[in-house]
């Protein structure tokens, strides 16, 4: 069957994988696997090949193999990415290093415990807040309004940004990029009825709005090109400007007295 980039026909790759098993002696070590790459072969294809034919003890997550489900986030040569979306041919060398996503506890090999990531996601109450549950008709939303938030609904919650974030590395209580993107997605949705100022007030700390170092690691690692840093900056701006409005309102109130 014909396929895309034909430039690596039958080239030998060495894949080095960080190994760990929570249940067995808790030691880290590396395993090297040698693999003959076929055209179009992705890192996920290579991992499956290794698991099926070379080492059935190797563990990693996968599902869609089409870069839409977010299961297979790992570090590829130190860069967080989806294993299914990176082709061996596009990597600079035939030596490839694979490690589990940082900032999350390792369970086995490339499988991490995603619970801290989901915990941050749950903390921002990631659902549309409305008074009526369902009204059997649609809300009207203009294309322009939709454009305000549709990019942020593309997030697949793969945690690549969470893993790349240097702030989480030093403070595991920081919400991280994905959760803040999710919050912003609802803030910009014209159907949303939560008290945004109240939500921002709760995040007025270094684990929420003010944690970000603005070093763009999340932006660089996002497979969906979502630019979380922009979102975090926008949330900060919204908080500051609404705070200023309140401040002036209060001053005006005092003056009236």
């Amino acid at each position: 069957m014909h396929l895309k980039k034909e430039n690596i026909n039958d080239q030998q790759f060495t894949i080095k994988i960080l190994r760990y098993n929570q249940r067995q002696n808790n030691e880290f070590y590396f395993s090297d696997y040698s693999i003959l790459a076929t055209p179009g072969m992705t890192i996920l294809d290579a991992l499956l090949h290794i698991q099926e034919l070379q080492d059935p003890t190797l563990a990693f997550r996968y599902s869609c193999r089409g870069a839409v489900c977010g299961s297979c986030g790992i570090l590829i040569n130190g860069q967080a990415n989806l294993a299914c979306r990176v082709q061996l041919a596009n990597l600079p060398s035939t030596n490839i290093l694979l490690e589990p996503l940082p900032n999350l506890p390792i369970i086995k090999d490339l499988i991490v415990d995603m619970e801290p990531f989901w915990d941050a996601y749950r903390k921002i109450e990631p659902w549309l807040h409305t008074c009526v549950d369902s009204q059997n008709r649609e809300n009207l939303i203009s294309k322009k309004e939709l454009e305000q938030f549709s990019l942020y609904t593309n997030c697949i919650l793969c945690a690549c940004c969470y893993a790349a974030c240097p702030v989480i590395a030093r403070d595991d209580q920081y919400l991280g990029p994905a959760a803040l993107v999710k919050l912003y997605r609802f803030f910009r949705d014209p159907r949303e009825q939560r008290d945004q100022q109240q939500s921002l007030l709760q995040l007025n700390n270094s684990q929420g709005l003010w944690g970000c170092d603005t070093v763009f690691r999340c932006r660089d690692s996002c497979p969906k090109e979502i630019r979380p840093t922009d979102v975090i900056t926008a949330l900060r701006r919204q908080f500051v400007s609404s705070g200023l409005i309140k401040f002036f309102q209060r001053i005006r109130g005092i003056n009236k007295k």
Binding site: P56, S63, S134, I141
Partner: protein
């Protein structure tokens, strides 16, 4: 032992819809072999059908016309009462998801946008660019977080426990604690998805092994119409990643190596937007006649749509083409080929999602209501998941008020012991084969012998090969005996079910001596309503599936010739 009112197996759209409809009144749990947000529902791209009449050319649309298109596309095998119910409920569930936050694309007036789709008389398919499944699944999961639905993620359900035709619970393998555990339930809902990975060339996620269908089959549930396998016309050549029907809905052309829009030969009126079975067969015919590229693909050409439309309506498709094929559809045609995509058949249910076993329900791709008959209309699978997930949630209270008795704990414990023994035997089994050898052969047989075009000889050969694979299966030994995140063990457990499903598909296809919808027999090229206007029902026996037939429910749409 944990006991629930309702256990839902499967965290895709159908499962979550049922969960959301029952969470406020019952103690429920959702089991899933992956985190729910990794379910295959999210890979749906093009949209969900509902006769909203939101665009100018669709104002004459209504649910009856939607029902007619669905029934005609099904080649008259769908049960018409079920189709009518689904199409009537279309607008309601689409509005519900919109109200819950799904970011549907919009018309200029701000209404939910609708695009043309194959086999549909009007632009009826509501969409969110080309990521409709993704946004619907995230919307439902978000509501599940709100309502604090309890999830058991990364658990493989291996047994459905039934006593005296009454459901008792499930047995599941926890990837993490490395143990089989038993859970009691007054009702169980299977929403476990399709079996695409029984085939080699599937669009499906790698996790789609059909394990829920085979677990139900082994538990004695009848399986309906499994020989009807949908091949999607446009999958990316080589990887078979789905390229949405929306690409043709937006105006894409199918072109052969002669530069012809060849659909003119096969469906002169509907052209590229004929139903999937017809377009898939047309492409396969062109390739077989030497009019393909590299003898394996034809081109899906979007270039004339222009960059703006492609970027607005088909951004995900563009990203897939760039990432997986190294081409940009703005400048180059996409090499595509048909690939296995969807299972019309599944666990037999009535139009309320009820099965032959009291307290056991099924919805979504793993179920066969049947609303798709012999060929599913594009845009109806998402609709089916939401509608029947919701219907089951409405029906469950009726059953649960009647069922007073709790699950039989002693019976469940005994079932667990039996299952533990079975698992231990598999772990201890000596052998000289590894699971991929049997799995890959099965996939090859299904793809090459039970594919788009079938003949009696090919099917007979397939059946005897599958029987041999069953024997070979017993020779597979595990190299990895650890039960902690042991994917070899999980794959081996699921492989047995895949063999079951492959056998049911093949038996049904061999017996059905006609061509109807997706089931195209080169030795019986006509539809035969006199003998075959009926559902295939397969029941488990140790010697293979036992088939019998059941009549199709016709309400007001008399079978007629299917032309496009």
């Amino acid at each position: 032992m944990l006991i629930y009112d309702i256990i839902i197996v499967g965290g895709g759209l159908a499962g979550l819809m049922t969960a959301l409809g029952t969470i406020t009144d019952y103690k429920i749990a959702v089991f899933s072999k992956v985190h729910p947000l990794r379910s295959h529902s999210l890979a749906a791209q093009g949209g969900i059908n509902a006769a909203l009449g939101n665009v100018a050319t669709g104002q004459e649309d209504n649910w009856e016309k939607h029902a007619f298109d669905t029934i005609k596309s099904s080649d008259y095998l769908a049960d018409q009462d079920a189709v009518e119910l689904m199409c009537q409920m279309g607008p309601e569930v689409v509005y519900q998801l919109e109200n819950w936050g799904a970011p549907f694309s919009r018309t200029l007036e701000g209404k939910i946008a609708q695009r043309p789709f194959g086999g549909a008389g009007f632009p009826r398919t509501c969409y969110a660019a080309d990521r409709t499944g993704h946004v619907l699944l995230h919307t439902l999961f978000e509501r599940c977080i709100k309502h604090q639905v309890q999830f058991f993620s990364e658990w493989l359900v291996t047994q459905l426990v039934i006593k005296d035709n009454l459901v008792q619970g499930i047995i599941a393998l926890d990837y993490l604690s490395n143990e089989l555990k038993v859970f009691g339930a007054r009702a169980v809902v299977f929403a476990t998805g399709g079996y695409g990975r029984v085939y080699q060339n599937s669009t499906n996620a790698l996790i789609n092994t059909g394990s829920g269908i085979s677990v139900a089959y082994r538990a004695g549930l009848p399986i309906k119409d499994l020989e009807f396998v949908q091949f999607h016309p446009t999958t990316l050549a080589g990887t078979n990643i789905l390229i949405t029907e929306g690409a043709r809905g937006e105006g894409g052309f199918l072109i052969n190596n002669q530069g012809e829009r060849f659909m003119e030969r096969y469906a002169p009126q509907r052209m590229e937007l004929a139903p999937r079975d017809i377009v898939a067969r047309s492409i396969a015919t062109e390739i077989a006649a030497g009019r393909g590229f590299d003898n394996s693909s034809v081109h899906l050409d979007l270039r004339h749509l222009g960059p703006e439309k492609i970027i607005e309506r088909l951004p995900g498709i563009r990203q897939i083409c760039i990432e997986f094929a190294g081409i940009d559809p703005i400048n180059q045609p996409i090499p595509i080929q048909p690939g296995q995509h969807y299972s019309m058949g599944g666990i037999a249910t009535n139009l309320w999602g009820e099965t032959h076993v009291s307290g056991f329900y099924s919805a979504g791709e793993c179920a066969c209501v049947s609303v798709h008959g012999a060929n599913r209309l594009g845009g109806n699978s998402l609709l089916e998941t939401l509608v029947f997930g919701k219907i089951i949630a409405h029906r469950l209270p009726l059953f649960l008020t009647e069922r007073k008795e709790l699950p039989d704990i002693n019976y469940l414990d005994r079932a667990l012991t039996t299952e533990q023994t079975r698992l231990q035997k598999i772990l201890d089994r000596p052998g000289d084969l590894i699971y991929t050898q049997v799995r890959d052969q099965l996939r090859n047989i299904l793809t090459n012998h039970v594919g788009i075009f079938r003949t009696g000889d090919l099917l007979k050969a397939a059946l005897s090969s599958i029987k041999q694979l069953r024997i070979d299966y017993q020779r597979i030994a595990l190299r990895n005996k650890d039960k902690f995140y042991n994917f070899e063990l999980l794959n081996l457990l699921e492989l047995e079910g895949m063999l079951d499903l492959g056998e049911i598909i093949t038996c049904g296809a061999l017996a059905r001596e006609e061509s109807r919808g997706s089931h195209a027999r080169l030795d019986f090229t006509q539809r035969d309503d006199l003998h075959w206007l009926c559902h295939t029902i397969a029941n488990y026996t140790p010697d293979g599936p036992q088939l019998h037939y059941q009549e199709v429910k016709i309400t007001r749409y008399a079978p007629q010739e299917r032309k496009y």
